[in-house]
């Protein structure tokens, strides 16, 4: 029974639509759980700055607050380990998701980011067997997720030797930065067959190609509403084909249920994997319909969904 247990969400960044969707999902699902009396409280906290140090301090404050479990989307897989250890030592259950932590005492709900990168190449190899030049848009240098996805992409490119990564820029996961970086490097690049991304930069890339007056390549999308809309427009106009892949923001709710189950005394393995959310040519319309305008394609978990993931 977890009716008197309190769970906190420690979030390090709220500055993009993905994070906002994640917070909204959390709010929606946990709000219901609290009013149903499943748990006593499920408070969400966001740091003012996207910094591991600030999040570490936040976790330490949560320990003081007396939460029974802390659900973390971590700014760094390792820099929070000190604080996470303190929490574990204080008898608090720590569950991390999306941005996971490596501290062994914590639970991890991981997405195989490397696979996410690799899958892009697998898809491309299928679509264009002749291969061609690729442009890679990366995220923020020195961040775990960026490194993982990128290494997956590069591994995929090695396996499919017909593809060559002709250029690589850092877009810092921000639309305007990506657009700027792509616009700058385009003139120096040969014909680009496809753009591989980390999610969310697809629309900006398309804009940059259009501005440079170059043919639009195949751009891998990242589940944002504007990307999907653009894709749909192109699809209707000229049969444009691509795929879209990203992690669903609703995974925060899975983490919540996992924390609840652990508090409930259930046996849960420390490492769980969730599939990423992939949208293809045929289910584009369906997904577009369920995605909030200006938001991100999402999947939320119920208690039973969560139990199914854990049982797997």
């Amino acid at each position: 029974d977890t009716a008197d247990k309190k769970i906190a969400l420690s979030n390090n960044y709220a500055g993009n639509s993905w994070r906002q969707a994640m917070l909204t999902s959390w709010d929606k699902v946990t709000g219901k759980a609290v009013s149903d009396g499943v748990v006593a409280a499920a408070d969400a906290f966001t740091t003012a700055e996207n910094q591991a140090t600030e999040q570490a301090a936040q976790i330490q404050n949560m320990i003081l607050q007396g939460y029974d479990a802390i659900v973390i989307n971590a700014a760094s897989p390792t820099a929070l380990n000190g604080s996470v250890k303190e929490a574990c030592d204080a008898g608090i259950v720590v569950v991390s998701f999306d941005g996971i932590v490596t501290e062994p005492c914590a639970w991890r709900i991981a997405v195989d980011f490397k696979q996410m990168g690799k899958d892009q190449l697998t898809y491309l190899a299928e679509k264009m067997p002749d291969g061609g030049n690729l442009l890679e848009i990366r995220g923020l240098a020195g961040v775990f997720v960026d490194d993982e996805i990128s290494s997956g992409i590069h591994e995929g490119a090695k396996e499919n030797a017909q593809f060559k990564i002709a250029g690589s820029v850092h877009g810092n996961w921000a639309q305007d930065v990506s657009q700027k970086a792509v616009a700058g490097i385009l003139p120096s690049l040969p014909e680009i067959a496809a753009v591989v991304t980390q999610g969310g930069d697809g629309y900006g890339a398309a804009q940059a190609f259009k501005a440079a007056g170059r043919p639009t390549p195949l751009i891998i999308m990242g589940n944002r509403h504007d990307e999907l809309t653009w894709w749909k427009e192109q699809k209707d106009a000229n049969g444009y084909e691509t795929m879209s892949v990203s992690i669903a923001p609703g995974v925060s709710t899975l983490a919540f249920w996992v924390a609840q189950m652990i508090l409930d005394g259930k046996e849960v393995p420390h490492d769980l994997t969730v599939p990423f959310l992939r949208i293809d040519q045929d289910n584009l319309e369906a997904n577009l319909e369920t995605t909030q305008a200006g938001g991100v394609a999402n999947v939320e978990y119920s208690q039973s969904d969560a139990a199914a993931v854990v049982a797997k």
Partner: protein, 312 residues
């Protein structure tokens, strides 16, 4: 007029007043914080910020501003969890090299009469680049002695508090009480007159920049002692935090008017502001804003004192 309670005295007591005010508020809403354990959890991550703030203060003393200190602390952290752990000799040499680079920066800025803001901004990219090269993905591990030192359990007062007091007093003594510290501050107050009195402006600048480097190194080491590992972006926010800390502590941008004790208190106040926020439990939308509101509230005390002064 009473010579003891001058406006100057009041103003220099202001940082301490704000700090006490904030601490009292925290104790009021979260009595659990009023303990050895609580203080330690709230303040230990303030120690590296305090050290970074002191580094910033060294540069501000000679009328410059360091926009690279955050990235520098990051590079130190990366060296700390890699080379310093695996090949201590190389690690120490690299850290000394970093300090030497800082001294060289001081020389460059003085000799060519450059705006420090741009040079250190440029250096922030250089440091970040080095950090990414040294530690491409987050991780590494901290030398055991460092971890042991930063998690020392001292009697009566938490180690973080003792350390902060010691550092503040030491730097106060060095900069405010010693003969050479006077020269350094004098160079901020009236650089021309220092040269007229026969002191080398070059040497003063180099020394103060080297001191900044030294405290930056200490900040980086203290940080990884708490987090146990690092990434390149770990301390980027320290740049703004350190500037805010110095100003909050009663320092001024030009004129060599600084206060080491105030700076340490300022840094700790910024740390506490985060805790206060967590304890308040406001809606996630406004959590970031609340951070700003707290800063404003704390600083509004200054306005009160100024007003009282004007009335007199």
């Amino acid at each position: 007029m009473n010579r003891l309670i001058t406006p100057r005295m009041l103003r220099s007591a202001l940082p301490a007043l704000s700090f006490t005010f904030l601490l009292a508020a925290i104790f009021y809403i979260q009595p659990r914080a009023m303990s050895y354990f609580g203080l330690n959890l709230m303040l230990n991550l303030g120690v590296p910020i305090a050290l970074a703030t002191l580094a910033q203060m060294m540069v501000i003393t000679v009328n410059d501003l360091d926009l690279g200190i955050g990235a520098f602390v990051g590079v130190v952290a990366c060296i700390g969890v890699t080379w310093l752990k695996e090949t201590p000799l190389l690690g120490v040499a690299a850290l000394l090299g970093c300090i030497a680079i800082y001294a060289a920066l001081g020389a460059l800025i003085h000799l060519r009469n450059l705006p420090s803001i741009v040079v250190t901004l440029g250096m922030s990219f250089v440091w970040l680049g080095f950090a990414v090269l040294i530690l491409p993905t987050p991780g590494g591990s901290v030398p055991d002695w460092l971890r042991a030192f930063m998690t020392l359990k001292t009697p009566y007062l938490p180690f973080a508090v003792i350390l902060s007091i010691l550092i503040a007093l030491l730097v106060h003594w060095g900069l405010m009480r010693t003969a050479y510290g006077t020269i350094a501050r004098g160079a901020g107050g009236n650089p021309r007159s220092m040269e007229q009195a026969g002191w080398s402006g070059l040497r003063i600048k180099m020394t103060m920049y080297a001191m900044a480097g030294f405290f930056g190194v200490l900040a980086g080491l203290a940080l990884i002692g708490l987090t146990t590992s690092a990434d390149a972006n770990i301390a980027l926010r320290y740049t703004l935090l350190s500037i805010a800390g110095v100003i909050l502590g009663g320092g001024e941008f030009v004129g060599g008017r600084i206060s080491p004790i105030g700076a340490v208190i300022g840094a700790l106040t910024l740390t506490l502001a985060g805790s206060f926020l967590t304890f308040l439990r406001i809606s996630p939308d406004w959590q970031i804003g609340a951070q700003g509101a707290i800063l404003i509230l704390v600083l509004a005390l200054r306005a009160l004192i100024n007003q009282a002064e004007r009335k007199k």
